[in-house]
Symmetry: C2
Subunit: 158 residues, 2 copies
């Protein structure tokens, strides 16, 4: 069980993060191998956690969630126990799809996907601003999105 990925592994990962419904056979053909080793490698990649899960990617806008917003937050109190509580609360909001602790001009950066401006305001008023020790809050509303993927660049790690 080597701890590192070879070229074939990264090629498999690259294919699966583009389309996880590809059959082992079609992957095998593309990589010039047979199904068995490809199958074994995929299972290994899953078992060792390189592949976390398989998901369907939905069309947010078509479904009715038309607005993406990023919110930069500065906190006034920084006690450890409070930070944990703050993060826990934030993570429980279903509108919040990402929560990062960041360095720079903010303490936290959130990414939200909501229906519209109203839903965004509702979130701010009924959820976010109820949290204590909130300092500066700055929103960046996505007017348009030219790229949005979670396909990461595996060529960098080859």
């Amino acid at each position: 069980m080597s701890n590192t990925l070879d070229k074939i592994d990264t090629q498999i990962l690259d294919i699966l993060q583009t389309d996880s419904n590809r059959t082992t056979k079609s992957i095998a053909t593309e990589l010039g191998m047979t199904t068995s080793p490809i199958f074994e490698r995929i299972k290994k990649l899953e078992k060792e956690g390189y592949i976390k899960k398989y998901v369907a990617v939905l069309d947010n806008k078509k479904i009715g969630l038309k607005l993406t917003v990023f919110i930069g937050i500065t906190l006034q109190g920084h006690t450890r126990s409070y930070l944990e509580k703050f993060v826990k609360e934030i993570n429980n909001f279903p509108e919040v799809v990402e929560c990062h602790r960041v360095s720079g001009n903010f303490d936290y950066l959130l990414k939200l996907v909501v229906e519209d401006i109203e839903a965004y305001e509702t979130f701010i008023i009924t959820k976010l601003t109820l949290l204590p020790y909130l300092g500066n809050v700055q929103s960046l509303i996505a007017l348009s999105t030219s790229k949005e993927t979670n396909k990461i660049d595996l060529s960098a790690v080859l």
Copy 2:
């Protein structure tokens, strides 16, 4: 072909955006139905574009891409043709996983996934700052990420 989604559709979408390897049978059982209608609905959701694709979600850090960075960018020139060229260039960088045109203190917000601080600096120096008309550039480096998903909140659109 109704233009809107009913409760069963959203339940199916919710299941699939959590785990796309669920069989139609297990979904049918969970929702108290038989496989056939579930199968038909899934195909319809795919065909009509509610489901865009199926992908494997990888463990960035385990694979060696340990750093997530958000970059806010202000441009100095705003001619339409330049904006299009700028976006096109940005979208071609494999490190960039998201590019949003935003309102607020920046014109664009990028999300990058790279190996480490060095790779980030390399990106800034050899790619980003070569683009003309670049104004203010501000980076937010993710120190830790407590939530990162693209599972959107379907309860809002029910």
